[in-house]
C-alpha cells in the first residue's frame, strides 16, 4: 500500500474539531500517528499543546476515539511502562502503547523517565513532536530550542539576543540508548514519516521505539500558517533537521541530502531568528554542518 | 526479659549474628527482638545493636539502656565509653579476645566473663576472620539462653556448614569465669 492509500483508507481517530492553531504541525502528526496505529491503541499525551488542544477531552467527553490519558508532564514513559507491563501480563501485546509528547515533556523534565524506559526496552512507541519550545504556555525555551531563537524566556534585549546554547540532540541521544528503533521525521516528507510511524509501531512490539518529528509552529515560530509544510521541508533540505533512522544499531539516512540549501533559507521564514546578524547566522550554519558531518560519519561507518 | 547489647565493627557480622539468635528463639516457640543501631555502617566502624529475648511478646521498641548481657566481637572496643554503659551489676560479658583476663581493664560490675579467641577458630573453619558465628557459640554456652542445637542449625542455614563447625569449636573452647560482679 502506498502511503497515500494508507492515509486515505485509515480512520481518523482524533476528534474532527480540536483546538490546535491553524496550520499546527502537532495536530497533523497526532492524526497521522493514530491513523496508522489504529483503534487497538492506548495513548498517553502529557500536558503540552496537544493535551491543551482538548484531545484528552473536556468534562465527560473524550477527545479521541481511543483510550487516552493525560499523564504528568514528566512521567509519560514511566506511566506507559506500567500500562505496558500490565498488557504484557494479560497477554495482550497486540495493543499499541503510544506516548505523544512535546519537546518539553520529552527532552526536559520528562527526559529522566524517557531515558529509563528506553534503557529498560519497554514495549512502546514514543513520539516527540518537536516545535522547539514550550508553546502551550507561551513559547518559553526548551532544550531543543535552536541557538539564537527568540523565546519568551530568551528574549532579544539590549545585551542578550535569544537563546545562547545549541540544542540538545535528543534523537541521537535516544539512538545511543540502544532502542529498538529511533528515527527523525518531518511532516514535509510524508512518505518517509508514514513509513517510520509504521516501523516504530512494529518495533514497539519487541522494544522501545522513538520518533522525533519536527513540528512547525506558526504561533511560536511566528511564521505563516500555510508555510508549515514548506518550512518542514526546508528544515530537512538545509540539514537543520536531517532525516535518519537507527534500526538494530544501524544508522541510515532515509532522505539523502546531497545538495543542501543554506540554513538561512529556512531561517528566513521565521521571525524567531529575525534579529540574528551575519556572524550569528554563520555560527548556526557551522553547527548545522558539524551536526551533519557527524550524522554522515555515523551513517557511513555504523552500518 | 533479657536485654542484651552487641558491640562489634562493620564487617564482623553483628547484625546477622543477632538476627540468627532471634530466628532461633522464634523457631523455638519463644520471642526475640533485635534492633540494629542506626548508624552509617562501614567496614571497620563501631556498630552495635539491641537484642531482647523473652518468653512472651516483646512490646517495647527502644534501644537497650541497661543491658544484662554484652556480646562484644572486638576487644578494641573496650575503651569506648558506650561499650559498658548501663551494664547491670553482675551482668555477663561475652568477649572476643586473645588477651588474658589480667590484660583486660573491665568494670567491676561484670559478674560473668566469657572469653573466646575467635580469630583462629574463624580462620580455621571459614578461612576469614569473621568472628560472629564463633561468638554465637560462646554466647550460647555462656548464657544458656538459646537452644544450642537449633542455633547451630540456623547458623548452618544462614552462614554455611563451616560456620556450624566454628560455633561448635567455640562452644567447647569458651572460658567462663565467675567474677562475682561486686557492686
Amino acid at each position: 500500500m502506498s502511503y497515500l492509500d494508507v492515509l486515505s483508507e485509515s480512520k481518523d481517530l482524533v476528534t474532527p474539531g480540536m483546538s490546535a492553531c491553524q496550520g499546527c504541525g502537532g495536530e497533523l502528526i497526532l492524526r497521522k500517528v493514530l491513523q496508522i496505529s489504529g483503534e487497538n491503541t492506548i495513548i498517553g499525551i502529557p500536558p503540552g499543546c496537544m493535551a491543551g488542544a482538548g484531545v484528552v477531552g473536556w468534562n465527560f467527553s473524550n477527545g479521541l476515539k481511543i483510550p487516552v490519558h493525560i499523564p504528568l508532564l514528566d512521567n509519560t514513559a514511566s506511566l506507559l511502562s506500567g500500562v505496558t507491563a500490565m498488557y504484557q501480563k494479560m497477554g495482550r501485546e497486540d495493543v499499541n502503547i503510544i506516548g505523544l509528547a512535546g519537546d518539553g515533556a520529552t527532552a526536559d523534565c520528562g527526559f529522566q523517565s524517557l531515558s529509563a524506559a528506553a534503557e529498560r526496552g519497554e514495549h512502546m512507541l514514543y513520539v516527540c513532536y518537536d516545535n522547539e519550545g514550550y508553546m502551550n504556555t507561551g513559547f518559553q525555551r526548551s532544550s531543543t530550542t535552536f541557538k539564537g531563537s527568540q523565546t519568551s524566556t530568551t528574549p532579544v534585549g539590549k545585551v542578550k539576543k535569544g537563546k545562547k546554547e545549541n540544542r540538545k540532540n535528543i534523537p541521537m541521544i535516544m539512538a545511543m540508548h540502544g532502542a529498538a528503533y529511533v528515527a527523525t521525521a518531518s511532516p514535509g516528507h510524508m512518505k518517509d514519516m508514514v513509513e517510520k510511524i509504521e516501523k516504530g509501531i512494529a518495533a514497539s512490539k519487541h522494544g522501545f521505539a522513538y520518533l522525533h518529528i519536527i513540528s512547525p509552529c506558526p504561533t511560536g515560530w511566528v511564521s505563516k500558517p500555510e508555510c508549515g509544510i514548506d518550512l518542514a521541508k526546508k528544515a530537512v533540505k538545509s540539514n537543520y533537521f536531517p532525516l535518519f533512522e537507527v534500526e538494530e544499531g544501524v544508522w541510515r539516512r532515509t532522505v539523502p541530502n546531497p545538495k543542501p540549501i543554506p540554513v538561512t533559507d529556512f531561517i528566513a521564514g521565521l521571525r524567531k531568528f529575525k534579529h540574528l546578524g551575519e556572524d550569528e547566522l554563520a555560527e548556526i550554519q557551522e553547527y548545522v554542518d558539524k551536526n551533519n558531518e557527524l550524522l554522515e560519519k555515523l551513517t557511513r561507518e555504523v552500518s | 526479659m533479657k536485654e542484651i547489647r552487641l558491640h562489634g565493627r562493620g564487617g564482623q557480622g553483628v547484625v546477622k549474628a543477632a538476627q540468627t539468635i532471634v530466628s532461633t528463639v522464634v523457631d523455638d516457640g519463644s520471642y526475640g527482638q533485635f534492633i540494629p543501631f542506626f548508624g552509617v555502617e562501614r567496614k571497620g566502624s563501631p556498630v552495635y545493636g539491641f537484642l531482647r529475648l523473652n518468653d512472651e511478646d516483646i512490646r517495647i521498641k527502644t534501644q537497650v539502656y541497661y543491658p544484662e548481657i554484652l556480646l562484644i566481637l572486638d576487644d578494641t572496643l573496650l575503651d569506648m565509653p558506650q561499650t559498658f554503659a548501663g551494664l547491670q551489676e553482675g551482668g555477663t560479658v561475652v568477649l572476643n579476645t586473645s588477651k588474658s583476663i589480667e590484660e583486660l581493664n573491665l568494670p567491676k560490675t561484670v559478674g560473668t566473663l566469657a572469653l573466646l579467641d575467635a580469630e583462629p577458630i574463624a580462620l580455621s573453619h571459614i578461612k576469614r576472620n569473621i568472628p560472629n558465628t564463633a561468638m554465637l557459640g560462646a554466647f550460647a554456652k555462656a548464657t544458656g539462653l538459646v537452644n544450642w542445637d537449633k542455633l547451630k542449625d540456623h547458623i548452618a542455614a544462614t552462614f554455611g556448614e563451616p560456620n556450624r563447625l566454628a560455633a561448635d569449636e567455640a562452644y567447647e573452647k569458651v572460658r567462663i569465669i565467675n567474677l562475682g560482679g561486686a557492686a
Binding site: 502511503y3 497515500l4 492515509l7 486515505s8 481518523d12 482524533v14 476528534t15 474532527p16 474539531g17 480540536m18 483546538s19 490546535a20 491553524q22 496550520g23 499546527c24 504541525g25 495536530e27 497533523l28 492524526r31 491513523q35 482538548g54 484528552v56 477531552g57 473536556w58 468534562n59 465527560f60 467527553s61 473524550n62 477527545g63 476515539k65 511532516p187 510524508m190 506558526p218 505563516k224 500558517p225 500555510e226 508555510c227 508549515g228 509544510i229 514548506d230 | -
Partner: protein, 89 residues
C-alpha cells in the same frame, strides 16, 4: 453527581466547531488537480478526502482555513478565497 468516581470521558467526542475559525476557505479547481495527494497528506485537520476514483475533495465541516493545501499544491489548483466569496465556484 456521583456518576463517575474519577474524571473520565466516555459520553462521546468532544468536538469544536473549528470551521468557524476560518476567514479564508480553500477552493479546489478539479480540472487543474493532478491527484498527487499532497493536499490530503499535509492537511493538519484531515479535511481533505480521496474517494473511490482517487479524486480529492475538501470538506468544510472542520477546515480551519490554514492554507497549507493551497500552498503545497504543485499545480496551484487550490485557491484561498475569503469566506462568502466565490461560494458557487
Amino acid at each position: 453527581m456521583r456518576k463517575y468516581i474519577s474524571p473520565i470521558g466516555k459520553e462521546g467526542l468532544y468536538v469544536l466547531d473549528t470551521a468557524s475559525w476560518r476567514t479564508y476557505r480553500p477552493v479546489m479547481d478539479k480540472e487543474a488537480c493532478i491527484e498527487c495527494g499532497a493536499c490530503m497528506s499535509f492537511c493538519p485537520v484531515n479535511s481533505i478526502y480521496r474517494d473511490q476514483e482517487k479524486k480529492y475533495y475538501i470538506s468544510y465541516d472542520y477546515c480551519k482555513g490554514c492554507g497549507i493545501c493551497a500552498n503545497e499544491c504543485p499545480k496551484d489548483a487550490i485557491t484561498m478565497m475569503l469566506e462568502g466569496e466565490g461560494e458557487n465556484e
